[in-house]
């Protein structure tokens, strides 16, 4: 997931788990916020959520940003399973949500059966049924309208393939291949759902935590406009008009049955969401802690300018930090830069230490060489080019000269523009220019950034991105990002900004996915990660840390590592 999704980083099991546990446990200043239970939270009041980057897609099948996923998952869209409201490793232990348990799987992990709870209700009182889940999941296949969402359904469900090895079904609007899709999900009764998968997916119960597998009412679906009027089966519903760019207000869903929901406490009566202020403004308001700011939380990470203030003095008691599982990385587009040596020169020149400094130093993250978070089993520490974290522009220049191209070699670097990213970009530009490149910086509007860089006509040679595993496995990092078959089509690159679609790598991905032994599978992901980095396709830069501030009236505050280290709206209260 992009930007805040449950990081699976804090997996249980083995040495990694111990390390993960200690690294993952968020430092919360509140003395009573032990996992969101107990404490002195009470119903009532208004929670204010002020966040810089808009949750552009609340359409559950299009929602792929961690904070937006956590928000929607806790307020509007229930899923068969979900992550509990807990800190550290405990947050990754999947619990049932709309289903009665975490599913029954066949021996070959290709068939999964769930029973829905009896009291699931939409906001108009009608029951949530298997047909609603099936319809919601089918929308992911309408890739012309339902854009930008996770693509697991297209890959996992046993839908017949076409000649290009893509699913031969184009969604519930055009319905071509509908019969084939209908066979992949059975509704033997309205409250029973059976999934038939194309290949073994041992952790499918974890995949189902994503809103992409949430139910949608067919009669309430309005296609591309659904971002603005999500019909809810959660504890809250949209009041009046919801603006995907500016925000809106959520009020209680009168038909949500609290006893059917073991995770969401829904303490606040109202949640007022505001997007668009800069990170600096959001934090200045939180620091002031006056008026409605006392009831405020944010999913915007503290900008570097605010870090010294937040970490010093009395504000520290209303701050919390966590290694959030996100990896900051650069993609080198293999169509625009087909020469491997040029890509390797770029990878050798960049200085990860300067990058971390630009983002705010050790409070903001740590340098890394892997696309896989240090908290996952599949992570290993290594030095792909022998240049350390500092990089070596001189060595890079030698490689570039050996490639025989005209120096300076022109490239454009696209990134999501804000003051911090500008500074990181300046460093990258200066390092690459010392290595013989000519760099044009192109800072793009954050709200539409990922849509632009996924467009093959608009994307540049070098683009920035940030990703966390959707669930605690290398299979939630490598295939979603690097499998060209599910990402690339005529008008989009999906999450594969590098346009990487190597047949032998794709074969290796398939082989890894077929493994039923977890340790062997994670080793396969490690090998693929190193291969992609050594080919200069992906340049991992930083393993992120998140620091947050919240208002003094907020109780039960905890950062949910599974969702990406964001404040867990299931258990916060303002009274």
């Amino acid at each position: 997931m992009r930007l805040a999704r449950g990081a699976v980083m804090c997996l249980a099991g083995g040495i990694v788990a111990v390390l993960a546990l200690s690294a993952c446990t968020g430092k919360s200043g509140k003395k009573d916020s032990a996992g969101g239970s107990g404490g002195d939270q009470a119903r009532g009041g208004t929670l204010y959520l002020n966040t810089s980057r808009a949750y552009t897609h609340l359409d559950p099948q299009r929602n792929y940003f961690g904070d937006a996923i956590e928000f929607e998952s806790r307020t509007l869209a229930r899923t068969l399973t979900t992550f509990p409201a807990a800190e550290g490793a405990k947050s990754t232990e999947v619990v049932p949500d709309a289903a009665t348990d975490t599913g029954t799987r066949s021996a070959d992990a290709k068939t999964w059966t769930f029973t829905l709870k009896p009291d699931l209700k939409w906001q108009d009182g009608k029951p949530v049924t298997c047909a609603d889940f099936k319809y919601g999941i089918s929308r992911s296949f309408a890739t012309d309208i339902i854009t930008s969402g996770p693509l697991y359904a297209l890959d996992y469900l046993n839908v017949p393939r076409d000649s290009a090895d893509q699913a031969a079904y184009n969604g519930p609007y055009k319905k071509s291949g509908q019969a084939g899709f209908d066979k992949s999900i059975d509704c033997p009764s309205p409250n029973k759902i059976v999934f038939h998968l194309r290949h073994p997916v041992a952790d499918f119960y974890q995949t189902l935590t994503m809103p992409a597998f949430a139910a949608v009412r067919q009669d309430k679906d309005n296609g591309a406009k659904y971002d603005s009027n999500v019909f809810s089966d959660g504890p809250y519903m949209i009041q009046g008009k919801w603006d995907p760019v500016r925000g809106g207000t959520l009020v209680r869903n009168p038909n949500w049955v609290a006893t059917s929901d073991t995770v969401r406490k829904a303490y606040p009566d109202k949640i007022v969401v505001t997007f668009g202020e800069t990170a600096d403004t959001v934090y200045q308001k939180l620091e002031s802690n006056s008026g409605t700011q006392k009831n405020a939380v944010t999913t915007t990470v503290a900008p570097p300018a605010a870090i010294p203030t937040v970490l010093s003095g009395p504000m520290q008691s209303r701050s919390a930090s966590v290694t959030d599982g996100f990896i900051n990385y650069l993609s080198v587009n293999v169509v625009k830069v087909p020469d491997k040596q040029i890509r390797q020169a770029i990878a050798m020149a960049v200085d990860r230490n300067a990058y971390v400094t630009a983002w705010g130093g050790s409070a903001a993250g740590a340098p890394t060489n892997s696309l896989i978070s240090p908290l996952l089993k599949a992570y290993t520490k290594y030095d792909p080019f022998g240049v350390g974290d500092k990089g070596d522009p001189a060595k890079a220049k030698a490689v570039l000269q050996a490639a025989g191209v005209h120096i300076p070699y022109p490239i454009t670097y696209q990134y999501s523009k804000d003051n911090t990213q500008d500074k990181a970009a300046i460093n990258i530009k200066s390092e690459l220019e010392a290595a013989g490149f000519k760099v044009t910086l192109d800072g793009l509007n954050p709200d539409t950034y990922y849509d632009v860089v996924a467009n093959p006509k608009q994307t540049a040679e070098l683009t920035w991105a940030r990703w966390a595993a959707d669930y605690p496995s290398g299979s939630a990092v490598i295939p979603p990002l690097m499998d060209g078959r599910i990402n690339i089509s005529a008008d989009t690159l999906g999450n594969d900004q590098a346009a990487y679609n190597d047949p032998s790598a794709n074969k290796a991905i398939d082989a890894a996915l077929a493994l039923t032994d977890d340790a062997a599978q994670q080793q396969a992901w490690t090998a693929l990660d190193q291969r992609i980095v050594k080919e200069g396709v992906i340049i991992p830069m930083m393993a992120d840390k998140s620091l947050y501030l919240y208002g003094s009236n907020v109780k039960g505050y905890l950062l949910n590592a599974a969702f990406g280290g964001f404040v867990d709206l299931a258990v916060v209260a303002v009274q």
Binding site: K423, K429, S430, L441
Partner: protein
């Protein structure tokens, strides 16, 4: 037109002659009488010299200390702004190069007091990236000053032309032009600037286009203010006797507009130009905050200010420097404008 004593013009006529612009030009030296003329004792009047209005204005200004100081500051600023690109080319100042090793404090603050001030970096470095603050402010000043000066020149050209035409023409031409001015004034300048920018600036916004865009839009929305001032000045002048005299002597309308009226509005235009230039600089700062600015690493005063604002408590020096620089620039120009206005006003001697 020189006036030697031998042509018989009186001294008074010489003194009153506005065309006698040379302050050094004096009455005929004593002791140089024409043949046959009685010797004139000029010693008492020797000290009276002819002065043009410009030199009179200059003398008035010289007496005003505050204005002279602001003039000095403005001249210094202009010199710095012009010199900055050359200083950069020679490596004396360096606004772009990052120095991450200088910003290793908590949250990447500069190590050392006063935002990391040192012999190499007199005003410290930028947090997070370590660029030299003094160099960025100077270079930003260059950009701002260039944009503002160009926009001011354009504003003066458009505004004066239209104002003179509107003021002198009367009837429907004046009516049409005045309504046009009202229309332009009614547009919200800042919002238009932001709304139109994606169309003109391209993606990525090219720096050259940003420069041209800013200059043109600032001038396009700024000229009506000047045009109105010029128009009202012209309205008060056009019924004066000397214009009537020129008309009755057969001067064409073009001659009256450009040779008689235009010079007469020089004063108000000059004062207005001095005041509008800092307004344009501040507008650029506001626009940089809203995202219309040069791509990094090129600084403008606005983008440096924009970056410095959140560091109010954590790096106060960095927060204050661009703000104070902007204040100095705006104050200097405003005081100069005030002083010019007083100096050019002949009635201010009596106060």
């Amino acid at each position: 037109m020189s006036a030697p004593a031998s042509d018989g013009r009186s001294v008074q006529a010489v003194l009153d002659d506005p065309a006698a612009g040379d302050p050094a030009m004096s009455i005929p030296a004593a002791g140089d009488p024409a043949v046959g003329e009685p010797r004139i004792d000029d010693s008492a009047t020797a000290a009276i010299e002819g002065r043009s209005p410009a030199s009179l204005a200059w003398r008035r200004m010289r007496r005003d200390r505050v204005t002279m100081v602001s003039l000095g500051v403005v001249v210094l600023l202009v010199l710095l702004a012009v010199a900055a690109p050359f200083l950069k080319a020679f490596g004396v100042i360096d606004p772009s190069t990052p120095h991450p090793e200088l910003v290793q404090g908590v949250g990447s603050l500069p190590t050392g007091a006063f935002s990391g001030a040192s012999a190499d970096h007199w005003l410290g470095v930028v947090p997070g990236v370590g660029q030299d603050v003094l160099a960025r402010v100077l270079y930003g000043l260059t950009f701002d000053f260039t944009i503002a000066a160009a926009a001011t020149v354009l504003t003066v050209l458009i505004g004066t032309t239209i104002g003179v035409i509107a003021g002198y023409s009367g009837n429907w031409i004046d009516g049409a032009l005045s309504r046009f001015m009202d229309l332009v004034l009614a547009f919200p300048q800042l919002i238009m600037l932001i709304a139109l920018s994606p169309i003109f600036l391209g993606q990525p916004p090219q720096n050259a286009r940003v420069v041209v865009y800013l200059i043109i839009v600032l001038a396009v929305f700024g000229w009506p203010y000047l045009a109105r001032i010029v128009r009202s000045e012209v309205l008060s002048l056009r019924d004066l006797e000397y214009i009537e005299a020129a008309r009755s002597l057969g001067a064409s309308k073009r001659h009256i507009l450009w040779k008689e009226l235009l010079p007469a509005v020089r004063g108000p235009v000059l004062v207005y130009a001095t005041i509008i230039l800092p307004v344009y600089i501040s507008s650029e700062a506001a626009l940089a905050y809203l995202g219309i600015s040069l791509q990094p690493p090129f600084p403008t005063l606005g983008s440096v200010l924009n970056d410095a604002l959140p560091y109010a408590t954590s790096d106060t020096t960095y927060f204050l420097v661009p703000g104070i620089a902007l204040v100095i620039v705006v104050l200097a120009f405003n005081l100069l404008g005030d002083g010019l206005g007083d100096a050019l006003n002949p009635r201010s001697d009596r106060m």
